[in-house]
Symmetry: C2
Subunit: 282 residues, 2 copies
């Protein structure tokens, strides 16, 4: 009988390592059919390859070794179809999650690309922006007080809500604050509302608003402390160019950076106000 295969040969035969066989032995998944009582050397039978094949097969399908053990413990194949089906569902779910991750990565890459191409800070520009959809949340406290502290709290509340609504994580970085038209027309920058850009209108979610496609004046800004000053610049520009504020002021976070100081949020913002030509009446 030459059917006494030492562990090294068994490993090579099955394209696995000795450690793997040790491990399977340890957890009681597959033990050698003979162990030399003096040396404790392990010896396998060629027929045990069938078992290893099956382990590999199930492992390939994403089962854990514990699950494989359970399958081996069964006396027949009746439970397999159900198991396979459950595993299929599980893999399907994992694929959906990965698809989400891919989307988040894509959005992140786009954000950084935008960041690299940002023209100049503090220069007013005019542009046409397409329609956008936002999910608005009123934090009831002015986000411009307490140098960011209130903003941080409200942002966290917004994200908690987004989690409840099961928004994809790719949304989490595209946030902003909104100052209503009546306020900004008085040259005041105060707001209790922040928002998150979303892809499509979720009709059953409260707080969804439409930013219509429109002509805008905009300016880039890379620190919170500058926002007020730059917003004034925008308003001055509007006045100087015979324009009129046509909607809410938006402060959009373009990209958030992992700044070397871990103690402050660092982001590039794009301030924007929709405008129209001043009506000649008056």
């Amino acid at each position: 009988m030459r059917d006494k295969i030492p562990i090294g040969k068994m490993a090579k035969l099955n394209n696995i390592t000795i450690q793997t066989l040790h491990h399977y032995d340890k957890i009681g998944l597959l033990s050698p059919c003979y162990i030399d009582p003096e040396t404790n050397y392990r010896f396998y039978s060629i027929k045990q390859c069938a078992c290893l094949d099956f382990i590999k097969y199930l492992k390939n399908m994403g089962f854990t070794l514990q699950e494989v053990k359970k399958v081996f413990a069964e006396k027949d194949a009746d439970s397999m179809p159900k198991l396979l089906d459950e595993q299929f569902q599980l893999i399907d779910q994992k694929m959906n999650e990965l698809a989400q991750v891919k989307k988040t990565l894509k959005v992140a890459a786009e954000n950084y690309k935008t960041y690299m191409q940002i023209p100049k800070m503090g220069v007013v520009e005019r542009e046409y922006l397409p329609e956008r959809i936002i999910y608005c949340y009123d934090g009831k406290r002015d986000i411009y007080e307490d140098q960011l502290e209130t903003y941080e709290f409200i942002l966290r509340e917004l994200r908690d809500l987004a989690l409840i609504h099961q928004f994809p994580t790719s949304y989490f970085c595209n946030v902003g604050s909104i100052t209503r038209m009546e306020t900004i027309k008085q040259r005041k920058l105060t707001s209790t509302e922040i928002f998150m850009f979303v892809d499509a209108v979720c009709s059953d979610v409260k707080g969804i608003e439409l930013l219509p496609a429109h002509e805008y004046v905009s300016i880039y800004c890379d620190h919170f402390s500058q926002e007020k000053e730059y917003a004034i610049k925008l308003i001055d520009f509007i006045v100087e160019n015979q324009l009129e504020i046509a909607g809410d002021y938006i402060c959009e976070v373009i990209v958030e950076l992992p700044y070397w100081t871990q103690y402050e949020r660092k982001m590039i913002m794009k301030l924007q106000i929709p405008v129209k030509k001043k009506s000649t009446s008056a």
Copy 2:
């Protein structure tokens, strides 16, 4: 200054656990901005939420904490696009792997379904089978000797080759042996060749053969020891019914079962021989 948030509140604020914050502190990813020197109590700043946000963001994109640490160590955002791109490739690869797993699961489910519907063992049937493609390998030794031992060795060689050709793992279960027409016509069951069903012709791989669509006689069998006996049944049937062997004998493994005894391969096989009506000449 009320900006001294104890660990429990910080955890709640960010929807994470205290352990997570402990862990981040331990690995040096994010340490509290103040530690009471007497009690060692940890206190965080609201501004550190930005850091946690970024950690979550990168984690969501599949980065490890070590990678996040590296990102934090960078002095600017220049390396991000490259990192994001690499991560995208990685996720893409993982998705492809999962797609493979799904396919394997689907094939496995089909195999078991087939198994459940298998008519009767040992009953000859006539049926029309569609074209199939196989990857053949000649092990140079008769697989019917040594009660399966040789078969096991040759099967392993076939799988090694399949790995080299990077065949999907879903192929690994659909194997079989082939006995050439000349041999089976002499009522002999000997063969040195086994094969694996494949999806499409890989023109650059040697050993690919086509089993043409044809009329077959077939019989199911659930143990190796019965194969010879059942093969004879097939041949007898052919003779009795005025038929003629029209091609190679195929022993197809329908499904392999995780039998309670771990010491022998247990499988359902379908033996099949292509036939045609006996030519009247002679």
